[in-house]
């Protein structure tokens, strides 16, 4: 409660970011403190409501349309991503079913099976009803308006997106179920929904693009109707204040139409329940969050009478599933809006991008462009509202483009993460969902003596627009790789990210290479390291957040890299020490930290025992490799010896058979050697990677503990200050009291901040660990198959060799 009282509504345009953060945080914490539902409720209402109310009162008057135009960018960037969903998943259920917020989530999962269909149906049904009531021409007219002078293409695109919404909704059903069970109540859920839908939408676009014509023909009303949907959404996000303030008749009408189509459900809820007064409160329950309330004020009042869907309304109120359904209707729309957004802007930007959107659609594109698109869509709408018919769409998008490009990272960071997770869940096969492949090749010794070092060619191939070229190669030395890790772990480690570690320095191995010994062990070392570096980079670029890091891009792209310094800390023993230190710290802190989160407790134990087992396994596999190499050597010498014996044998046939046996054994030696390599590269190295990675996982746990510690310390400090305050009150010293009060305020802010930090880190660690586990399972699966394939091959060879030998043995007379 203390926190909520402190969280005064932030001033609107400037700290919109902050606000978004707030709601996110609240969402995150709610999952951890389900039992504290009552208190949280208030919190939930607070963060989302304030901006709204504020907007109404403090927003620049509508007479400044330029302002409205200017503001949206910041809004758009963040709002669509987080706000609608926080309100969707958290605010709504909590406000409706105040007593049992946690139950809600359980229900969510349970009801899912029916509700998505319901939702989809309802949307369809509504649309159908609408089409009868509202002249079809209107929406389609709008459509044309929005896209003004543009070609037919965008329209088609949008239609596709629309059609896919249904598919998305249906597909969601399964995904959501699994998701929700995982981190219930997390903000993640919200954004996950979005992501999934996003994804499915993308997928279905591909699917549906073939059917485009038919679907167009069949469901034109639906398409156009739904199309309006996103507009409303956008509208609601960005210029709600403006809407509220400028109640021009035309606008209202416009919205009515759209509203009818799309928001039937929310409206019903409202109509069934409430009076106009509580519109704002209700709005939160809505899928579309605050803005909707404002924008749809009118329709809401009007609609109920016109719309005869009372059954649903009733269900909404009484049923647990109600909110869910709402969520569902909203979701498709939202999702779709994102998607539509994406497609539209890409068309606007370049035709090349457009084609990509249609085909294999990379996630990054979607996200990065999401912001831009929304704006572009938005502005036409805005213009239209104001009665300006021909929209200079070029100007508005350009503004938005600038803004969105400025911070695509922050906006898409979180999302990408989710994307990745979902992908993995769905499509275990498509591992390289990220259109980026990295190879480390051509290790080359540069320089002589002890100053020599190895340089590697790092080649990147990617169609991602964030890179300047599609293929580029840079030369990097080993310490550059270490330097990259240091930078990344410094930046992302404290936030709970699992930064993939590079192979550690090996003084022994490198010295051999430096001395220039051309033996097999040094070649082996170089190859092992090269492969390890390659896997290291691949892990980084396949991590959605890390890929966005400018240092990663610099590492991959920039011709000359400033020399990495201070990488000594990572050298061999030093690296191990570091890990051990981290481990110690963790264990020490565990004692202090009263772990309230069972998940973390279990996970940490799991990680620790896995680490132990992996270490054991690594030793075993190394010994297997040694034995295999021994076997290979022994087989070779036996082959030689058999050949000699064959030459000594005076029976011609036996002599021949023996020399054949020698040949077989020679081949067997090669098989054993290949198998040893297989053991090493497919198995031992993988395990070594995971030992290192588990170190990073522990590191992320450690960072979470640190965040917790900081929060606790701040709380203790605050407590002290409060005690001082009480004492001063007692002693009646107003001058000092003022000072202490200020300090208390300061600490309160800090406590809130740190708590948020902790929650954020916790959420990230959780997400990262889940991702890590999935990645691990996938990785191992792939390697197992690889490994077995190698074994299979060598076995086939073996059979071939012995079968060839058999007649020789039989020919002995």
């Amino acid at each position: 409660m203390a926190t909520s009282s402190e969280r005064s509504p932030p001033p609107f345009p400037d700290s919109e970011d902050q606000d978004v953060l707030d709601s996110e945080e609240v969402g995150g914490r709610e999952s951890d403190e389900d039992d504290d539902g009552g208190g949280d409720d208030l919190l939930f209402v607070n963060p989302s409501n304030p901006p709204l109310t504020k907007m109404d009162t403090t927003l620049p008057p509508a007479s400044q349309p330029s302002d409205v135009l200017m503001e949206p960018p910041s809004d758009l960037m963040n709002d669509p991503l987080i706000e609608p969903f926080s309100s969707l998943t958290e605010n709504k259920p909590t406000s409706k079913i105040v007593s049992e917020p946690s139950d809600d989530f359980v229900d969510l999962t349970n009801n899912l099976a029916d509700s998505p269909e319901d939702a989809a149906e309802s949307v369809l049904a509504d649309v159908a009803i609408d089409t009868t009531e509202i002249p079809l021409d209107e929406p389609s007219d709008d459509f044309v308006d929005i896209f003004g002078g543009e070609t037919e293409a965008p329209r088609e695109e949008v239609v596709i997106a629309n059609v896919t919404v249904k598919a998305a909704a249906a597909a969601d059903k399964s995904e959501v179920t699994s998701d929700v069970t995982d981190p219930p109540g997390d903000l993640k859920t919200g954004s996950d929904f979005e992501q999934e839908a996003n994804e499915t939408a993308t997928d279905s676009i591909i699917d549906l693009s073939d059917d485009l014509l038919s679907s167009n023909a069949q469901k034109p009303p639906l398409a156009s109707d739904q199309f309006v949907d996103p507009l409303v959404d956008f509208l609601s996000d960005a210029p709600p204040a403006a809407d509220a303030k400028i109640p021009s008749r035309a606008t209202v009408d416009l919205f009515e139409d759209e509203g009818n189509d799309l928001f039937t459900e929310p409206r019903q809820t409202k109509s069934a329940k409430q009076q106009q007064k509580s519109l704002f409160g209700e709005a939160d329950e809505d899928l579309f969050g605050e803005p909707l309330g404002a924008t749809t004020k009118k329709p809401v009042i009007k609609e109920p009478k016109g719309k005869p869907v009372p059954t649903k309304a009733a269900r909404d109120v009484s049923n647990m599933g109600g909110p869910l359904q709402d969520g569902y209707t909203a979701e498709p729309a939202d999702i779709f809006s994102e998607e539509a957004v994406t497609t539209v802007p890409s068309i606007k930007k370049t035709s090349a991008v457009n084609s990509k959107t249609n085909g294999v659609h990379s996630e990054e594109d979607t996200d990065i462009f999401a912001a831009t698109v929304e704006l572009s869509l938005d502005s036409p709408q805005e213009e239209r509202k104001k009665g300006v018919p021909a929209v200079p769409s070029a100007s508005a998008p350009s503004v938005s483009a600038a803004t969105s490009l400025a911070k695509p990272q922050s906006a898409s960071l979180e999302e990408l993460d989710d994307d990745e997770e979902e992908e993995e869940e769905e499509e275990e096969e498509q591992e390289d969902k990220f259109d980026i492949s990295i190879s480390v090749k051509d290790p080359e010794k540069i320089g002589d003596g002890m100053n020599a070092y190895m340089a590697y060619k790092v080649t990147t191939q990617t169609p991602l627009p964030m890179f300047r070229n599609k293929t580029f190669t840079v030369r990097r030395r080993f310490s550059d790789f270490l330097g990259l890790y240091e930078k990344l772990s410094e930046k992302h480690g404290p936030n709970g990210f699992i930064v993939p570690p590079p192979p550690e320095k090996s003084i022994l191995g490198m010295t051999k290479v430096k001395v220039g010994k051309e033996d097999s062990s040094s070649a082996d070392f170089v190859e092992r390291r090269r492969a390890a570096l390659e896997r290291y980079l691949q892990r980084i670029v396949h991590h959605p957040s890390l890929l966005q890091d400018p240092d990663v891009r610099e590492f991959l792209e920039r011709e000359e890299l400033p020399r990495a310094v201070g990488t000594q800390a990572l050298s061999g023993a030093g690296f191990l020490k570091m890990i051990n230190k981290a481990t110690d710290a963790v264990s020490k802190m565990t004692i202090k930290m009263n772990e309230s989160d069972v998940w973390f407790e279990e996970k940490l134990q799991e990680v620790e025992s896995a680490d132990q087992q992996f270490r054991k396994l690594h030793v075993l596999v190394e010994s297997l490799v040694v034995h295999r190499k021994e076997l290979s050597l022994n087989t070779a010498s036996f082959a030689k010896s058999t050949a000699m014996l064959g030459s000594a044998e005076d029976n011609t046939a036996l002599s021949r058979a023996l020399s054949q046996l020698a040949e077989v054994e020679d081949k067997m030696e090669q098989l054993h050697q290949d198998q040893a390599t297989n053991d090493t590269f497919n198995f031992a190295e993988l395990i070594a990677d995971y030992i290192r990675l588990l170190g990073s996982v522990r590191g992320s746990f450690d960072h979470r503990m640190k965040a917790w510690q900081r929060w606790q310390d701040a709380q203790a400090a605050l407590q002290k200050k409060r005690e001082t305050e009480a004492k001063l009150l007692w002693a009646n010293k107003p001058d000092k009291l003022q000072l202490v009060k200020e300090e208390i305020a300061e600490w309160e802010v800090k406590v809130t901040q740190y708590e948020r930090d902790f929650d954020r880190v916790t959420a990230t660690v959780r997400k990262e660990v889940v991702r890590f586990d999935k990645e691990k399972a996938r990785n191992f699966k792939r390697e197992i198959i690889n490994y077995l394939e190698c074994l299979l091959q060598s076995q086939q060879q073996l059979i071939k060799y012995w079968e060839a030998f058999l007649p020789e043995a039989k020919a002995i007379a």
């Binding site: 034995h627 010498s637 010896s641 012995w802």
Partner: protein
């Protein structure tokens, strides 16, 4: 001298039914192994047609030594004495395993123990087998099967209570071997009169060194195989623990592990079959060739004796003293040498045939087993493999 049916002699003895010997049972008490030697015979020289007696390894050694020392058998290849039962290595391993029990999971320990027990059993079987083969070679030999001591060995139903060699005799034996080796060097310089033996000598000396090398290499190779089999046990146990601990592996780890278990079995079987078919073959023929070399040595010795007797006769003639004795001695030496040469030639020829047959048999069996292991025993067959991948992908 009756030299009949020499072709029947090989490790894989298909002798006539007049004297059948096998060791159906053996008892292992501490270091001592008691073999039950069972004989079935139609020969009248035995009192009963069917009987069993308990014998120890030392009794076999005694039998071998008496045969070697019998002057009449100097021209024969005396079947090599079976090696002393060696249960040391599995026993030592068992001990080690007991020590390392704490560091292993229960499953791992059980598996290792099973593996060691299997190895122990294999060593035991092998020991019985070599003892059996020794007796069977004697029984199928036209001359040696008539040996009195051999018959006593088979028939006497009490403990033979063979006097164990005392330290002096042990040393004496060692000394004798030294002398023999030195002798061999001396004798090897002697000019061979017979081309056949000249060739045989060169061949056997060469072959012996080669087969000795091969045996050592094969043993090493087999050991490596066994090491790998052991590694697989530990790895599969660890993978098992890992997949039990870790929720994300649960479905795929199990497969990985099971594939390793299977592999380990295959690898273990490959090792023990290689041991049986290849290493044992080489080891046996190494000893057999040693026995053939001993024959050559005895013949060379006789040749030297004959040449010395010639010299003595020449001397006697020069001195015109003791000429008849010298003549007699020279004649005896020549006779002995001729006899040795004659039977030696036959023995060596038969040895050659026996060796080729044995090699053929074992090499075929080994190749077949290798193929069988790769094809049948392994879970990693194309069909199963793709099933596996399919399961993974579900």
């Amino acid at each position: 001298l009756k030299l009949a049916n020499m072709r029947s002699v090989s490790v894989d003895l298909n002798h006539d039914a007049s004297l059948l010997i096998d060791i159906p049972d053996a008892l292992c008490e501490r270091d001592k192994v008691k073999f039950t030697v069972h004989t079935k015979t139609t020969l009248s020289s035995f009192q009963k047609p069917d009987f069993s007696v308990p014998r120890q390894h030392e009794d076999f050694i005694w039998l071998h030594d008496t045969l070697v020392e019998t002057e009449d058998y100097a021209g024969l290849i005396i079947p090599p004495v079976p090696p002393k039962p060696d249960f040391e290595s599995p026993r030592e391993k068992m001990h080690k395993l007991g020590e390392g029990e704490a560091t292993m999971t229960k499953e791992e320990y059980t598996k290792m123990k099973q593996e060691l027990e299997a190895e122990y059993l294999a060593v035991f079987k092998k020991t019985v087998q070599v003892h059996e083969v020794f007796l069977q070679r004697l029984s199928s030999h036209p001359i040696l099967s008539k040996d009195r001591n051999f018959q006593i060995f088979l028939e006497y139903d009490q403990d033979l209570t063979v006097r164990r060699k005392n330290a002096k005799e042990m040393f004496g034996g060692f000394f004798k071997n030294m002398v023999k080796s030195a002798d061999e060097v001396l004798i090897s310089g002697i000019k061979e009169v017979d081309d056949f033996f000249e060739q045989e000598k060169t061949f056997l000396l060469d072959y012996y060194s080669k087969i000795k090398d091969s045996t050592a290499k094969a043993e090493k190779m087999t050991r490596s195989h066994k090491n790998i089999a052991d590694d697989y046990i530990h790895i599969s146990a660890t993978l098992n623990t890992l997949s039990a601990d870790d929720s994300t592996y649960r479905h795929c780890g199990g497969y990985y592990m099971s594939s390793f278990v299977f592999l380990q079995k295959v690898e273990g079987r490959v090792a023990s079959d290689q041991e049986l078919k290849l290493t044992e073959l080489l080891r046996y023929y190494m000893r057999d060739i040693q026995a053939a070399k001993d024959l050559l040595y005895r013949r060379a010795r006789a040749l030297v004796d004959y040449e010395n007797s010639n010299k003595a006769l020449d001397k006697a003639r020069l001195k015109s003293r003791d000429i008849p004795q010298a003549e007699e001695h020279q004649k005896q030496c020549l006779q002995k040498f001729d006899k040795l040469s004659e039977s030696g030639k036959k023995e060596l020829t038969s040895f050659k045939g026996r060796r080729v047959v044995a090699f053929r048999k074992n090499l075929i069996e080994m190749a077949e087993l290798e193929i069988k292991h790769a094809k049948v025993s392994s879970p990693i067959q194309p069909r199963d493999f793709y099933t596996l991948i399919h399961v993974y992908n579900m």
